[in-house]
Symmetry: C2
Subunit: 81 residues, 2 copies
């Protein structure tokens, strides 16, 4: 059993309207030290396999095909177990 | 300048329909080794301060008041810089 954590974040060059909205909300609550907010996704997958190398290979395909939109998003993952 | 990364995840006892949908999609694509998927948010905040202790204190308030719904979500954060 391998636990994989996939992080999908919007590319630096792409506007993140959700982050801008959260930043505005934080400012209006008095948190003026917040200079920028970028929001991404974190996905925790449990994989029923013990082959780490194969798991990495298949995770890359999952990210490219479904989990991330590689036009506007970056992804990275970590494996444990 | 402090960079904070906030992770907001749905509590283990709470159903994650988005994760279930992604798991179903991965299965239909042939990734049958995926046993479970839980989806959360990752937020990267840039804070214009150098006081780490104060930043932590204020981040906790931000999480409790806005960034996380503590009824159904857990949060944790890391500081760097």
């Amino acid at each position: 059993m391998i636990k994989a954590t996939v992080y999908v974040t919007i590319k630096q060059s792409v506007l993140d309207p959700q982050g801008v909205a959260v930043q505005g909300a934080l400012h209006s609550m008095g948190f003026n030290e917040v200079e920028s907010v970028r929001i991404g996704k974190v996905m925790e997958l449990t994989l029923d396999t013990t082959d780490r190398a194969e798991a990495e290979k298949r995770l890359t395909v999952m990210c490219e095909k479904l989990l991330a939109n590689t036009v506007v998003e970056d992804y990275r993952y970590e494996l444990e177990g």
